[in-house]
């Protein structure tokens, strides 16, 4: 089709419009005829060997780095719920822990294995404690945590929603079972300063717990489930409660207690004066104190590194085996159609 000299711009516009339309029509035609430009990869032996080798080459270094990082984290874990009961009460632990007249202090001695750099995180670890039980997790009221007594409907918290006829703030089983062991750390007769601020998530502090909400009628019932709260401190500053209310995933979990902002040297002996208040004896739970440094990967866990190395080395072994079998059987697909003829 010849375009004449005059009116070239209008003709160009028309030609462009037609070409756009014909391009769109062409794409639409390709779509309806199932003939779109496509990439059709085929799994050839070279691709297979390359993929497995690549996986091995990438995974093994990652695994080794991760393993090394995990080994560089220094962790002290000390179980204290059995040692901290005096000898004469070992026969009936539950009645000991429930007796509020006995003072439950206890001393532990921790030896620092290697130099630990600040900040050192202090956690309490509970085992066999199902904080992920459905009924337990349901027993809270987010509206009440934000707005306090103004929220009326606290039915999800029953039976821990009120005591002695008055509503409790915060209501629910999670708050009621607040962990209340306390720890004090002494090194060479001077107390280590434990930073108990900023242990909860920032979003929890700012958006889930009200700044104008104060504990009211809390832990006042016949059954004491855990710690009590200072009624003059608003909920958004009650960091222990905020940390506790962020429920754990598995029956063995750690929650942050505080931070030590100074270094600990190797072979230091840290004396821990703790108050063994919390009752885990009724259900066979375990309490442990954990002091840990942290790396760019977090805490101490060798599993990731080991798994990476395992998967990487398996890939390399598989690729070698495959290459061997491939070379030994040159064209083994000859006459081997896999459906019966």
């Amino acid at each position: 089709m010849e375009v004449e000299g005059g009116n070239t711009s209008a003709n160009d516009a028309v030609a462009r419009k037609i070409s756009i339309q014909s391009r769109r029509a062409k794409v639409f035609y390709q779509f309806t005829q199932q003939n779109l430009p496509a990439c059709k990869p085929v799994l050839t032996p070279s691709w297979i060997v390359t993929t497995f080798l690549l996986m091995g080459v990438i995974f093994i270094p990652i695994g080794l780095v991760t393993l090394r990082t995990s080994h560089s984290v220094i962790e002290i874990v000390e179980r204290y719920d059995t040692e901290c009961i005096p000898e004469k009460f070992r026969g009936n632990k539950v009645s000991y822990i429930k007796d509020s007249t006995i003072l439950k202090n206890c001393s532990l001695y921790l030896k620092v294995p290697k130099h630990m750099k600040a900040p050192i995180y202090i956690y309490y670890q509970l085992d066999n404690y199902y904080q992920n039980h459905r009924r337990y997790v349901k027993s809270r009221n987010d509206q009440q945590l934000l707005h306090g007594l103004k929220s009326n409907d606290t039915s999800s918290c029953q039976p821990e929603d009120s005591s002695n006829g008055l509503p409790s703030v915060p209501c629910g089983l999670i708050a009621w079972s607040l962990f209340n062991d306390t720890f004090k750390f002494i090194r060479e007769s001077s107390e280590l300063v434990v930073n108990r601020k900023n242990i909860a998530w920032k979003s929890d502090r700012n958006h889930k717990f009200g700044k104008q909400v104060y504990p009211f009628n809390f832990q006042n019932g016949t059954f004491i489930g855990g710690g009590s709260l200072d009624p003059s401190v608003p909920l958004s500053d009650q960091e222990d409660l905020i940390v506790w209310m962020r429920t754990a995933a598995l029956p063995s979990f750690r929650k942050m207690y505080g931070r030590i902002e100074e270094d600990l040297d190797a072979d230091d002996v840290i004396a821990v004066h703790l108050m063994n208040n919390y009752n885990t004896y009724s259900f066979g739970g375990k309490k442990k104190l954990v002091l840990s440094t942290s790396s760019w990967l977090g805490g101490k866990n060798d599993f990731l590194g080991v798994a990476y190395v395992f998967v990487g080395s398996s890939s390399i072994i598989i690729s070698l085996v495959f290459m061997l079998l491939h070379v030994k059987n040159p064209s083994s697909f000859a006459g081997r159609l896999s459906f019966p003829l």
């Binding site: 199932q34 805490g299 398996s314």
Partner: protein
């Protein structure tokens, strides 16, 4: 007069539309029947059988992670994931790739389908939807769920998962496990299909991206609505390198068994469409017919019988 059939094909023509009205498929000319059968019939069979197997697989993978989690939640019924994640699983994050498989996948191009009509026997003999295949996909799902659950919970156990010392909680484990499930299931789709247009790429990678976008959007809703997902990706998971490394490990480990099976199967016991694909790649016309001794004109049994008869005839003539 035809009384019973699996599929009715009517040809609209000079004699009227009566056949068309009572048929499942209508074509305009008789010669289109070849294409309908060999191309679309084969594609349709493969697409539907693969889609059903894949559907079982992806829901088993998802459901069994929930089941294993219950063992760690004293079987109280607490789901491992936030409610909205579970509602959106089959709708947003894993539905589009299935459409990409069920509507668009082509293992062998149309031209080659017509050239090798024997490929149609895959459907007649029900090779792609046999019980071993179905059970194989289902056990792949269960195995994937086991790998995902145990690798995730052991990597992200109870220790701190970030440099700032925050310990793992329910939200983080849920997001880590769910991300691994979404990645694994979508990458499994990428491994299973043989035909990648922009549509497939958009659906598969788009579904994965949609999961992260959903997390960000849902996490920014007020905590009374988003409960355990509030800011979980933005604040907790994304800055954690352990989370990303765990996702990578779990996804690759989950896909490894299937990839291994595919590798050995296509190399040592290839199916007819594998042979055709490889032949197309290598471009040699005669290789496939001479090596497999199967003519593309007649069924193999007929060919073998004919060869026997020819040999007998030759012997008798000598």
């Amino acid at each position: 007069m035809l009384q019973e059939a699996d599929i009715g094909v009517g040809i609209s023509g000079v004699e009227g539309m009566q056949a068309v009205m009572s048929s499942d498929y209508a074509i305009a000319q008789f010669r289109f029947l070849e294409r309908l059968l060999l191309v679309h019939g084969h594609w349709c069979y493969r697409r539907i059988s693969m889609m059903i197997c894949y559907f079982f697989y992806k829901n088993l993978t998802f459901g069994f992670t929930l089941f294993w989690y219950e063992a760690y939640a004293s079987f109280s019924g607490r789901p491992a994931y936030n409610d909205w994640y579970m509602s959106c699983y089959n709708v947003f994050f894993t539905s589009l790739p299935v459409i990409a498989l069920g509507v668009f996948d082509q293992d062998v191009s149309a031209r080659l389908c017509l050239k090798y009509p024997l490929l149609y026997q895959e459907g007649v003999q029900n090779i792609l939807f046999s019980w071993p295949r179905i059970l194989g996909w289902m056990s792949n799902g269960v195995l994937s769920a086991i790998i995902i659950f145990f690798f995730t919970t052991n990597s992200i156990f109870n220790q701190a998962f970030r440099k700032d010392g925050h310990a793992v909680d329910y939200e983080v484990l849920g997001v880590a496990m769910y991300s691994s499930v979404v990645w694994a299931v979508n990458c499994q789709m990428a491994l299973s299909i043989n035909y990648f247009t922009w549509i497939q790429h958009f659906f598969i990678w788009g579904s994965i991206a949609l999961w992260y976008i959903f997390l960000v959007v849902y996490g920014s809703l007020p905590p009374t609505f988003s409960t355990t997902a509030y800011k979980v990706l933005v604040e907790a998971c994304a800055p954690s390198i352990l989370y990303w490394l765990t996702t990578l490990l779990v996804v690759v480990s989950t896909l490894l068994p299937y990839f291994l099976y595919r590798a050995f199967q296509t190399r040592f016991r290839p199916m007819y469409h594998d042979l055709i694909q490889r032949q197309r790649l290598e471009g040699s016309e005669t290789e496939i017919s001479s090596q497999t001794e199967v003519s593309s004109e007649l069924p193999a049994q007929v060919e073998i019988k004919m060869q026997h008869l020819k040999a007998n005839l030759r012997q008798r003539n000598q």
